[in-house]
Symmetry: C2
Subunit: 299 residues, 2 copies
């Protein structure tokens, strides 16, 4: 059986694992979405800038209300503190290369010209939550080529590779900032209050998914009316609350299913479904088969 | 009349002007050697790494005992804390582009992987005082091309130029470190004691050039015998003490000559020459004409 991965997050859903080391604050990961619980990457955010390059399959990223479908060879830059989640499209086997960078790695030190002029207005700028890199033209191809070379130097680690990686990433961001000069020029900071509120809602859902969740109780957590709360949740995650909760319940049910000592009806009850048939229907919708077929496939 | 430039140095001969700013700690200068006092750059050193690209003429750099002749298109990297001086060859009109970099600009912060693994063993490494870049092969041409692009971005300053310059320089140093992997791998630190001793000798010469300087008195400053002192001075500057002192005296005489209110004999005496004819001879050797011809040429 494959090891299931979850992204460890703190009570704010910020990722707990740091990316890279203090002495070399960036890293390159290779992720197989099949290894994540529920074969998808749950909604999370972090201060690091993340650049995802799709190496295989087709994946849908959700950035606020924007849904982006990426196929092999395309890339997505996710800005600091932008909630993002990912699911495979059409059950495709998705392999991702993710380059995760603490912005200090690029700008050197707070107060440097590079920090003040470019990274401070860019990082978390709400007008640039993400940038799709499709490689449609020569300049686009060059940017993707820079990312490919970062990946290669990180894997092969020749003498001095850290310098080369920083050089390639600075060239990459030089091009990104040039393309977005106007937006970087007059940015508005990310809304910390909104992120805090989203975190409260997600915390509540994760604590109560095993029960019936009342929209009224949920909305009360953030002092909003039911409609405002629904609208806000959709704005920030791109999903309705119902959809998010069902996705989360299915994700939580998988380890119970694989453990093999509970019936489907028991699992449905533990994960907050009102009946075994509702669980089976939600399961089929997401996993392309019923729980038993899933178990056969996994074993 | 041209403005005469001297390099301002403190009592340790370290340059007093900082290169670049704290927020962007590198700069690119364009120097005309004719604008320097005596048309040459006096012996000095600094912690910044300096990369000189010859844009016109032929120039001789003196790095310790090594004498390097550079012509148009060639470049020289001078390591941290390495005493260097420059004179034009055959009275040629020398134009230099110098890229001066505080190493922190490249390695980010003390303790970073890049500082520990590469810059700490490289900066001031006595086995690599300087590196000549001749562009004899494709890889050499590429390094010179990187420097040319640094110069262009510094002059034209498009949006994001700081990132591009850092990217280019990191690529340049990646290649330099790869070429010198073995030396960087097991470097020996620059000898601070030697630099301190050289500074004492130069201070003494600069304070007493107007008088007859006794080798015994000079050597006593650094607690060396006369022979050891002479050998040490030559080792560090590539010049004999006599030669250095005459060069310095000629340099000091130029502003007096140009001021026009002293006779050649008076100037010779003020700058420590034992006679007007000795002054004239030393002058002709260096300046390619006698003092009067020099004045005619300058006015």
């Amino acid at each position: 059986m494959m090891e299931q991965r979850t992204i460890k997050v703190d009570h704010e859903l910020k990722e707990l694992c740091t990316h890279g080391t203090a002495a070399f604050p960036m890293t390159v990961n290779h992720d197989d979405l099949l290894c994540f619980q529920g074969s998808c990457m749950a909604c999370h955010w972090h201060e690091d800038i993340e650049i995802i390059v799709v190496r295989r399959g087709t994946v849908r990223y959700q950035i606020y209300q924007q849904s982006l479908v990426l196929t092999k060879g395309q890339a997505l830059l996710v800005n600091s503190n932008v909630p993002h989640s990912a699911v495979p499209v059409d059950n495709s086997h998705v392999l991702l290369c993710t380059i995760i960078i603490q912005p200090e790695f690029l700008y050197g030190f707070p107060g440097s010209d590079m920090e003040r002029k470019y990274f401070r207005p860019f990082c978390g700028n709400s007008r640039i939550p993400c940038i799709l890199l499709e490689g449609k033209d020569e300049e686009g191809q060059e940017k993707l080529e820079l990312l490919r070379r970062v990946e290669t130097y990180f894997q092969e680690r020749p003498f001095g590779f850290e310098l080369k990686i920083q050089s390639l990433l600075l060239d990459f961001f030089f091009r990104i900032f040039s393309d977005n000069q106007e937006k970087v020029g007059r940015g508005t900071a990310a809304d910390g209050e909104k992120l805090r509120r989203l975190q409260i809602l997600l915390d509540y859902l994760h604590a109560h998914y095993g029960e019936t969740v009342s929209l009224q109780d949920l909305a009360a957590q953030v002092h909003l009316g039911r409609e405002s709360c629904s609208r806000f949740f959709k704005e920030m995650t791109g999903k309705t609350i119902t959809r998010y909760l069902e996705d989360y319940r299915i994700g939580q049910s998988l380890p119970l299913l694989l453990a093999g000592n509970l019936t489907v009806a028991q699992i449905a009850e533990l994960t907050g479904f009102s009946s075994a048939s509702r669980y089976a229907r939600a399961f089929r919708e997401r996993m392309g088969g019923n729980p038993k077929e899933y178990l056969l496939h996994k074993s």
